[in-house]
């Protein structure tokens, strides 16, 4: 009579232990998947906060730019007015122009600085280079956050979450086959056990592989 070997005689116990192990691994995989999803949501939120901050810097720079542009325009117009008075024949007008040049224009120029004071912003036709001034303002901002960095990190976590979910499905499938092996007939249970174990090992390798790949990608 053929004696059953050690494995077949204890098959049901070994399989039950494996089912418990797969269940625990699945639970861990689902937990990790949710954690990664939560990290992705955090990065999304951080990116949106950065976007609001960055936009508020831009808004303030635009406000300042057009405030300076308005003052500079008023200064330039007053300067043209003074030049016209100076060019006139009337002595009274020239006196008015002299006083305006001495007392009014410097104050208006101060209001319009740096556009009206820094020569690098003056164009050949007497107008001011607003684009250059805006570029300088943007460069002066010390801690302008870039939301796309946080969005890229969020996308990376989302991608990892997707692949981890696939791993969880693999683990659930292995659970299916191992359960079949537990309740199935003698003839097929070894095959079912082998498929279940194979899918489980593949699922675990998948899970670890995804973690390692994304660890290096970030």
């Amino acid at each position: 009579m053929k004696k059953p070997n050690w494995f077949t005689s204890r098959f049901e116990v070994i399989n039950a232990i494996l089912i418990a192990l797969v269940s625990l691994t699945t639970a861990f995989s689902v937990w990790r998947t949710n954690m990664v999803g939560s990290l992705a949501a955090d990065e999304n939120r951080a990116g949106l906060i950065d976007a609001v901050k960055s936009q508020s810097y831009d808004n303030e720079n635009y406000r300042k730019l057009y405030q300076e542009a308005g003052f500079s325009y008023q200064f330039a117009v007053k300067e043209a007015e003074v030049q016209a008075l100076e060019a006139g024949d009337s002595l009274e007008a020239r006196d008015r122009a002299a006083n305006m040049r001495q007392y009014l224009l410097p104050n208006m120029q101060l209001l319009a600085q740096p556009l009206a004071t820094d020569e690098k912003y003056r164009k050949a036709d007497g107008t001011f280079d607003l684009q250059k001034r805006f570029a300088d303002m943007q460069n002066e901002v010390q801690d302008d956050p870039d939301p796309t960095l946080a969005f890229a990190r969020a996308d990376s976590y989302f991608s990892e979450q997707r692949w981890l979910v696939v791993g969880s499905v693999l683990l659930a499938i292995s659970l299916f086959w191992l359960t079949l092996a537990e309740i199935g007939n003698e003839r097929l249970r070894m095959l079912e056990f082998a498929i279940g174990l194979g899918v489980y090992l593949f699922g675990v390798a998948w899970f670890l592989g995804v973690e390692i790949v994304f660890l290096f990608l970030r």
Binding site: V52, Y62, R63, Y73, A80, G88, S90, F151, V169, F176
Partner: protein
């Protein structure tokens, strides 16, 4: 000798009947739930990304609105002042002519000086105004008005593009969020199947067990139908 008539023997009911089938269906439901959870997670991720894009574009649109407001305010102020100065110069010149005709030469000279000042202001204003410096908007002929309509169209172009992208992202969000919700519905229906299979395991009567198993299977099929409609929709 007559043999006694064989009375029909009632076979004892197999208490474990259909239990194997129920276990298989339960585990199959588990696998289906895992796949559905994966689909739901994917739809949620897509919805989250689209929602983020939609909000990001909305932030950019608000900034662009702010910029457009400031720029139009500045440009139309400059243009308005240019027009005022130009008209002042013309009126003062006319005044000077009238005063000369009346023989009031001193007053005429003052009016001419003031006209020169207004003209100088207008000439400089012309250089500052985009409606005169940019060939896209500058008047084509003497006496024509600048093309302010084209200026506003061009100015709002970036905002219009951002708005189109924002709307598109919002539509994508709606689509995937709806799918994610449908998958949750399918998962909830699967929970009913779990409950029915659990009941089937618990009851002792094999026929009732089979009935519960059948109901559970119908529920699984309904959940699958919802899933496929969502997947293809």
């Amino acid at each position: 000798m007559n043999e006694p008539a064989a009375s029909p023997v009632k076979e004892p009911e197999n208490k474990e009947k259909y239990k194997g089938l129920i276990i298989v269906l339960t585990v199959l439901t588990t696998v289906l739930a895992a796949i559905l959870a994966a689909l739901q997670a994917d739809a949620s991720i897509r919805a989250d990304i689209a929602s983020r894009e939609s909000q990001y574009y909305a932030i950019q649109i608000s900034g662009e609105l702010h910029r457009v407001g400031l720029e139009t305010n500045y440009e139309f102020n400059v243009y308005g002042e240019y027009l005022t100065n130009l008209q002042e110069a013309t009126i003062l010149e006319l005044t000077a002519l009238e005063q000369e005709q009346d023989g009031n030469t001193k007053a005429a000279q003052t009016s001419r000086e003031l006209a020169a000042v207004s003209q100088a202001r207008a000439t400089l204003g012309e250089k500052f105004s985009i409606f005169h410096t940019d060939p896209r908007y500058a008047p084509k002929n003497e006496g024509d008005l600048p093309n302010a309509e084209q200026y506003l169209i061009d100015l709002n172009k970036k905002m219009t593009e951002l708005l189109a992208k924002q709307n598109e992202a919002a539509d994508i969000y709606d689509k995937w969020d709806g799918k994610a919700d449908s998958y949750v519905t399918a998962l909830t229906i699967l929970a009913v199947a779990f409950f029915l299979f659990g009941l089937a395991q618990a009851v002792k009567n094999a026929r009732i067990r089979l009935a519960f198993t059948g109901f559970g299977t119908v529920v699984i099929l309904f959940s699958l139908m919802v899933t496929f409609i969502t997947l293809l929709g």
